[in-house]
């Protein structure tokens, strides 16, 4: 779960990392706590908001009112702005970059710092980004911090002020089960304070149960995706018009890929997982129907989950609730013959292979 910047900053504050003085504006007419000059920052779960006009400076209340009206109208990266963070303007002397991520290859926290803060880290040259890997069995030690700070060519008293922040952010990263904590930029202000101007924090969804203080907002998800998440169904909305239902994430992805091969476009990724519970199958189909695909492609491989029990669930849903778009199915594995008969009786088109199913779905969807 990606936290809003202001939520991330609340965590920073909890760990003793300085942030600018600020207030969260919940709706357009909410001006009472404003101070001037201030920086107005749209709260959205995507990057690139500066370029989109989501960050603006306001010198007076009048200007702020006008700018807030504009920002609250904005959609940035598909997300409607619902909150704005108003902050004091900080005079910047130096901008740094500081983050922790999980290095998947080494399976360790990776500390990254750069003297080139304030821009997209992917656009910073590799030789200007410094890295330290931290074995979780020992945790962060002084030598890690000494080592990386030495490469940044800072003044001694700057190093002294930044070192504790590197340590505190590690604690936050580990204690809040983060996938990413990023301060970009971490600034040294005109009056020699070290302040986190931005906050990007992604908490591992699977660990949210340990963090009751974080409200599960999942603001990066669509309404249907949120509904699916509550029901425990892996459901993702995509740009195309063909709804894919399969069992297993890899198989669902491979099915979407097959569609693309035949110039079709997947509109929904729906992974049934290992379930053959008719109630779950029903919920999955209902969600799929709400996404209004032009064609549904059902791709099942029966292993431990038998093809026929899933097919029974599908046919029950279709016969009871009806379905207003063609459903193409491709069934393979344990009890596939029985399953095919059940689905044929339910009025589904059965295809012989994934390629065949993908081609027919793409043709029907009009690609």
């Amino acid at each position: 779960m990606k936290l809003f910047e202001y939520r991330g900053k609340q965590l920073f504050q909890k760990y003793g990392i300085s942030i600018p003085k600020g207030t969260v504006i919940e709706y357009e007419g909410d001006h009472s706590n404003l101070f001037f000059p201030c920086v107005l920052k749209a709260q959205v779960p995507v990057g690139g908001r500066g370029k989109a006009g989501g960050i603006q400076l306001a010198q007076t209340r009048e200007v702020a009112k006008e700018k807030l009206a504009g920002i609250f109208q904005m959609k940035i990266g598909g997300f409607q702005v619902k909150k704005v963070l108003a902050e004091e303007k900080i005079g910047v002397k130096k901008e740094l970059y500081l983050s922790y991520t999980l290095d998947r290859s080494r399976r360790m926290p990776l500390l990254m710092m750069s003297g080139k803060g304030g821009m997209d880290i992917e656009s910073v040259a590799d030789n200007l980004i410094f890295k330290e890997w931290i074995n979780p069995l020992i945790g962060i030690q002084r030598f890690h911090i000494r080592g990386i700070l030495a490469k940044l060519e800072l003044e001694k008293d700057e190093e002294k002020k930044i070192a504790p922040i590197v340590l505190k952010l590690y604690k936050l990263f580990r204690e809040y089960d983060c996938e990413l904590v990023e301060i970009n930029p971490l600034v040294i202000s005109g009056d020699e304070q070290v302040i986190a101007l931005d906050a990007k924090v992604i908490v591992n969804d699977d660990a949210l149960y340990r963090h009751p203080d974080l409200v599960a907002e999942h603001q990066e998800l669509t309404m249907l995706e949120k509904e699916a998440k509550e029901k425990g169904i892996a459901f993702i909305q995509l740009e195309g018009n063909i709804g894919v239902i399969a069992n297993g994430a890899g198989l669902t992805m491979a099915t979407l890929d097959a569609l693309t091969h035949y110039k079709g476009k997947g509109g929904v990724f729906l992974d049934l997982g290992g379930t053959d519970d008719p109630e779950k199958v029903k919920q999955a189909f209902e969600l799929m129907k709400k996404a209004k695909p032009k064609v549904i492609l059902l791709n099942l491989f029966g292993g431990i989950t038998k093809c026929d029990t899933v097919a029974k669930g599908v046919s029950t849903v279709i016969s009871k609730e009806g379905i207003d778009c063609p459903v193409i199915s491709r069934i393979k594995g344990c009890n596939e013959e029985i399953a095919k008969d059940i689905l044929k009786d339910a009025g589904l088109i059965t295809a012989g292979s994934l390629q065949d199913a993908a081609k027919r779905s793409s043709d029907l969807a009009g690609w």
């Binding site: 399976r107 699977d206 990066e220 669902t252």
Partner: protein
């Protein structure tokens, strides 16, 4: 031979008395696996399909000489279960559980390294060596035929599909290992490749990868330098958009990393033969002979 599990494998199942535990103990026994013990705290003295249940892994190991653990306990208790098994001297762990917090997995993977133990998973279907009648996990038994192809995969059902299509062509498998769909996993493609390279029974290797991370790129580089056996691969998620988690916790293109394009390019460069559809793997392996 085979990799990671063979005729010497003696399995203790952690989380043995739940619905999943009972069912899969039966399935593993039918496959021929030596399931020697189960562990569920508080259920000592019970039996599942004739397999004795113990309160702790330590007791199970002392009584039965179990050397391999199948972890089926809920995500919240998995870290504790893995630590318990490692401290009891278990040397191979297969962690099936999904939704284990990444930081927990990171901790137990490193503790296993320190102990010199192998962790397969988490969020994986397990491992099967059909020629050795050893299956530790939840993979469907019916799809396997013994033979000489090693399979390592980041996904479950997709792997069954590929293995099944190999078996239908009469192409058997030495070992099939599900590495898991999480970002932090114990055994990587590189570990599996090294083991298959050493294994005299394995003549070719099939890798089933997907978007997210750089495991395939790392593997490609490793293949170029260290692997002589032919390698075939399928990559899922060529059409996945960036920033979306495609079902598996690990299947996400983040910050420009983990695209299928980059993985396919790396494999092509390493001389790995790539399939466009899952079942095409069988065509490629058959053509190779």
């Amino acid at each position: 031979m085979s990799i990671f599990v063979d005729t010497n494998t003696k399995v203790v199942v952690q989380g043995a008395t739940g619905h999943q535990g009972q069912f899969h103990i039966g399935e593993m026994l039918n496959f021929g696996t030596k399931v020697v013990a189960g562990v569920t705290p508080g259920k000592q003295g019970e039996e599942v399909h004739g397999v004795p249940i113990f309160n702790t892994v330590q007791e199970a190991v002392m009584e039965t000489d179990a050397n391999t653990s199948l972890v089926l306990v809920p995500a919240r208790f998995s870290k504790d279960a893995v630590f318990e098994a490692l401290d009891a001297g278990i040397t191979t762990l297969v962690v099936i559980t999904e939704n284990i917090p990444f930081h927990d997995a990171m901790e137990f993977v490193h503790y296993a390294m320190y102990k010199g133990a192998v962790v397969i998973g988490p969020n994986c279907p397990g491992i099967a060596s059909p020629g050795k009648k050893a299956k530790v996990g939840i993979l469907p038994s019916g799809i396997f035929v013994k033979g000489h192809v090693g399979v390592a995969s980041r996904s479950g059902t997709l792997t069954y599909e590929i293995v099944n299509s190999l078996s239908e062509r009469g192409i058997g498998q030495s070992t099939c290992v599900g590495l898991g769909g999480d970002p932090i996993i114990g055994t990587t493609f590189i570990d599996a490749l090294n083991a298959f390279e050493q294994d005299t029974e394995t003549k070719a290797v099939v890798l089933v990868g997907e978007i997210g991370g750089t495991a395939e790129e790392d593997a490609a580089e490793h293949i170029t330098q260290h692997i002589r056996k032919p390698v075939f691969a399928f990559i899922a998620g060529r059409t996945a958009p960036p920033g979306k988690r495609m079902g598996h916790a690990g299947a996400i293109i983040a910050r420009g990393k983990g695209t299928a394009k980059s993985k396919i390019k790396a494999f092509e460069k390493a001389g790995v033969k790539l399939a466009s559809f899952p079942t095409e793997i069988a065509d490629l392996v058959e053509k190779y002979g």
